[in-house]
């Protein structure tokens, strides 16, 4: 139940960002067709979402999470993919693995580090 409320809070937080992403996807689709839409979708899913989920475990505001996720995303996601690409010898596999890995880290944080969340909830 508690876990459910955590996720519904996260989903609520992500709504305005999702709206912005959808607007950007449509806008880029109009300008550049499917390629433009795919870029925005990829950017939001790979470079933004995993970091937002990881940061949602910390006691920081929604705007802070959004900005830091964008900046951490463009720095960290490609680096992890690069090194995984060396292991798998395929960037496509490395991209998918990096995404799964980072999402798993975010979810694991949420599940196995309740102390961090407790701190946050106590303050709220």
């Amino acid at each position: 139940m508690k876990m459910e409320s955590k996720y519904s809070k996260l989903i609520d937080e992500l709504k305005p960002i999702a709206i912005l992403s959808v607007i950007l996807v449509v806008f880029m689709f109009i300008l550049f067709g499917i390629m433009g839409a795919r870029v925005i979708l990829g950017f939001s899913l790979l470079f933004f979402l995993p970091f937002y989920i990881i940061l949602s475990n910390f006691d920081i505001s929604v705007e802070e999470k959004a900005i830091f996720s964008l900046l951490l995303g463009i720095g960290i996601f490609p680096t992890i993919s690069h090194y995984l690409g060396m292991i798998f010898s395929s960037m496509k596999i490395a991209i998918v693995t990096s995404f799964v890995l980072l999402m798993a880290i975010g979810i694991a944080f949420n599940r196995y580090y309740p102390k961090l969340k407790k701190n946050k909830e106590d303050k709220e």
Partner: protein, 556 residues
């Protein structure tokens, strides 16, 4: 009553969100103008290098471990001849990933850059909104959307620098929040902000080292100012040590080769490390440049030609770069207002301009920084923040002399913002649109015939083929032919028919480019017949490619 206030606040937030989205879409529309109609790559030679690196990742579906073989163009990007790309993996891999996800070589590449370079839009807004409220932040954004300096940094292919900017406001914010949490008696120290500062600084360093050092300067100046104001060291030394460790850990874990090479270069500059391979930089690093002596401390743009190099003079003119002088009084008002008020957030903003000033004037104490001019890239976001603060602070300044109630102050503030917005749209918008729409025209960007030929080479010729370019008239065209074709290009910078290229004996194919001369003027006709003569006497077989005025011949 409380519900009504909440409702008003929520509707205010909604309006702010909508305006923010409209502004960002407007900016993205403008910044994508260069490749909306003509989806052909463009940019200075650095841009061609970046394109090639990202392209390798996309086309081979492999990480980029080695720079492509050194040749006339790409040789520049081999770091101290060690063979690895001089930029850390995050930059090229980010571009490569976007090409893979987007499924193309050109649009995804430039779209990623438009988004990544414009991230400063959000971080800049975020910082100013937190410190000075949404009105000031929105006004500063409006200036930024039409900022000439930021636009040129992006257009000229200084992308890593432009991406590194985006980190500045976020880093300043996390430092500010950490210091605040440490100084406030009723708050608990929040080390998370300091650790975030470290990680963001590390990522910024990996995008662009010069901007990182400028940012460090801002934080150091801010800490000194706060320490003086509060008469207290504004951080916990233990937290700071962990933060510094984290900074170096991320840098070296993420990009060991480039980090080592960058720090070697810093130590080399300081005379603490000797490596003959770095001697090629000696001319720029050690030259004894006299900038103008002590009088320079009163000047901002005064740099001699040998320092400004190939940069056009208008980059060092306030009137040109800010379209006119109308914002100058507000810049001065902004600085004076912050200096007089001097609260913590004011000191943070002042530390940005102070750091830039210090970095632009190190020559006064005999330190010549390599590529000092590049620090100017950050000038506009600093100035525009101060200008917006200057404009929105006028009602406060007036109210310190004459009694003005809050309502009137707000009316005055929003009237000033509307007037400023009208001026921005009427003065800054048109040149912005025109520059972005008509950038990289004929001779600066491949025409469609050249682009198709380069793609054909990429798809059909052996990886190690050397292609001699005959008739391609300008260096940017040659560089981009090489970048898009992904094959060694053989050309001379001063002649349309190469004779002196060091790789001339590696020529496997000859590309004769008539496409540029298919216009009706005398000079073009002469060039055309000159090339036809050259073709007759130098080629014997049928071309392997003959489309739209471009012929490619195999050399026996």
């Amino acid at each position: 009553m409380i519900n009504k206030e909440k409702e008003i606040k929520n509707s205010g937030l909604k309006i702010e969100f909508i305006v923010l989205i409209i502004l960002y879409l407007g900016m993205l529309y403008l910044w994508t103008l260069p490749f909306q109609k003509q989806q052909i790559p463009y940019g200075e030679p650095d841009a061609a290098i970046h394109f090639t690196m990202a392209d390798k990742i996309y086309l081979k579906d492999k990480p980029l471990l080695q720079a492509p073989p050194a040749n006339t163009l790409l040789g520049f990007d081999v770091d101290y001849k060690q063979g690895f790309p001089s930029y850390p993996p995050q930059f090229y891999t980010g571009l490569g990933i976007t090409e893979i996800v987007g499924g193309g070589r050109v649009v995804p590449f430039y779209l990623y850059l438009a988004i990544a370079c414009s991230l400063v839009f959000f971080s800049f807004y975020f910082l100013l909104r937190k410190l000075f409220g949404p009105a000031t932040a929105m006004l500063a954004l409006l200036f930024f959307v039409f900022s000439m300096r930021d636009r040129l940094t992006y257009l000229w292919g200084q992308w890593a620098t432009a991406i590194a900017f985006a980190f500045i406001p976020a880093i300043l914010y996390t430092s500010y929040e950490y210091i605040n949490s440490f100084l406030e008696k009723d708050k608990k120290e929040k080390p998370l902000y300091l650790y975030l500062t470290s990680v963001l600084l590390a990522l910024q360093f990996l995008f662009h080292a010069a901007i990182f050092f400028l940012c460090i300067g801002m934080i150091v100046i801010y800490i000194i100012a706060i320490a003086i104001k509060e008469r207290k060291i504004p951080f916990n030394i233990k937290t700071l040590v962990i933060g510094i460790f984290l900074l170096f850990f991320v840098i070296f874990a993420f990009a060991p080769q480039q980090a080592t090479s960058n720090f070697q270069r810093v130590f080399y500059d300081l005379g603490l490390y000797n490596n003959p391979d770095m001697a090629f930089n000696e001319v720029t690093l050690k030259q004894n440049v006299t900038y103008g002596g002590i009088s320079r401390i009163f000047k901002w743009y005064d740099f001699p030609q040998d320092v400004t190099g190939a940069y056009p003079p208008f980059l060092f003119s306030f009137k040109s770069i800010y379209y006119s002088y109308w914002v100058l009084p507000f810049l001065i008002i902004g600085i004076i207002f912050l200096v007089l008020r001097r609260n913590r957030r004011d000191l943070l903003m002042l530390s940005t301009i102070a750091s830039l000033y210090v970095f632009l004037h190190t020559d006064v104490i005999g330190i010549h920084l390599e590529k000092v001019i590049r620090f100017f890239y950050t000038e506009s976001i600093i100035f525009y923040s101060l200008i917006a603060i200057g404009i929105t602070s006028i009602p406060n300044i007036i109210s310190s002399f004459v009694k003005v109630n809050e309502n009137s102050r707000n009316i005055m503030k929003y009237t000033l913002i509307v007037i400023a917005a009208i001026l921005i749209f009427s003065i800054n918008a048109q040149p912005t649109y025109e520059q972005l729409k008509y950038t990289y025209g004929e001779g600066m960007r491949l025409n469609s015939a050249e682009f198709l030929a380069a793609n054909w080479i990429n798809d059909n010729l052996p990886q190690d083929a050397g292609i001699m370019y005959v008739g391609t008239p300008t260096f940017p065209l040659r560089a981009w032919l090489e970048a898009v074709s992904g094959r060694l290009g053989i050309f001379d910078n001063l002649n349309i028919i190469p004779e002196k290229d060091q790789n001339i004996n590696k020529t496997d194919y000859i590309l004769i480019d008539y496409s540029f001369y298919m216009v009706n003027n005398e000079q073009a006709k002469q060039a055309m017949s000159y090339l036809q003569e050259w073709e007759k006497s130098n080629t014997k077989q049928n071309p392997v490619y003959d489309e739209n005025g471009i012929k490619i011949f195999k050399v026996d």
